[in-house]
Amino acid sequence: MLINFFMNGMHKDEKMLAVCGISAFFAGILNGFIGVGGGVLMLFILKLIYKNDKKAAFAAVPAVVLPMTVLSAALYVIREPDIILKALPLIPAALFGGFAGALLLGKLKSRAVSIVFAVITLFAGIMAVLR
């Protein structure tokens, strides 16, 4: 009934929506389990939904990932309350960075940024596995 409420009159392709819902569920698991990756999976899902409108997909990601991140963060804080003190000094950087990113969306060539971050992420990932 809950799913019917969400899906009612929304999209014709219910199969794709079901697949997207299951993928979102796994994105949530990833977000809670390793603290990252929810956005990557959600972007993939939203690109499937929005098809040609890449900007709309990019724009919808934070709206979906934010509640997931808030919930995961809250559960981590309940488990380890002292992470609030450790995270506190970084909050201004995160806030200003997020605002700058939102303003830069569509103005900066996201392909170049994406390639740079892909190289750094690949290198950091390999380091984490080998260390």
């Binding site: 969400f6 819902g21 809670g32 389990f33 990252v36 929810g38």
Partner: protein, 125 residues
């Protein structure tokens, strides 16, 4: 976070900018904190999530106003995602720190490699 706090601040800012643009890079702060700042993997994940709550708020608001995405669709995906979140967080509390870091590393390496392959294909075509 004492000696490396300036680096942590810089990495947090840069990854927040890239995440706000949807270009990824959110996991880099977690790996930096757990590998170079003497913070446990679980705490690093918690710090990353807590900071990204603030990093994602401006893009979520700005993009919601600018692009007006389908609220029902967003709600449906968010509902599915948050259920998964609870499960993932519970799972992480029963997983050793080293294994968590390796999983995080494997995931980030895979995402980096796949992104490079995808971009190379798009440049060719």
């Amino acid at each position: 976070m004492t000696v490396h706090s300036l680096w942590a601040y810089v990495i947090c800012f840069i990854t927040s900018v890239s995440s706000g643009m949807g270009a990824g890079g959110g996991g880099l702060l977690t790996l930096y904190l757990s590998m170079f700042s003497g913070v446990s993997q679980t705490a690093a994940q918690g710090i990353n999530l807590l900071d990204f709550t603030f990093a994602l708020t401006p893009p979520a608001v700005v993009n919601f106003v600018r692009f007006k995405p389908d609220i029902r669709l967003i709600s449906f995906l968010t509902f599915c995602g948050t259920v998964g979140c609870v499960l993932g967080t519970l799972l992480s509390s029963h997983t050793p720190d080293l294994l968590l870091r390796k999983c995080c590393g494997v995931f980030l390496a895979a995402v980096g490699a796949l992104t490079l392959v995808k971009e190379a294909k798009e440049v060719k075509s």
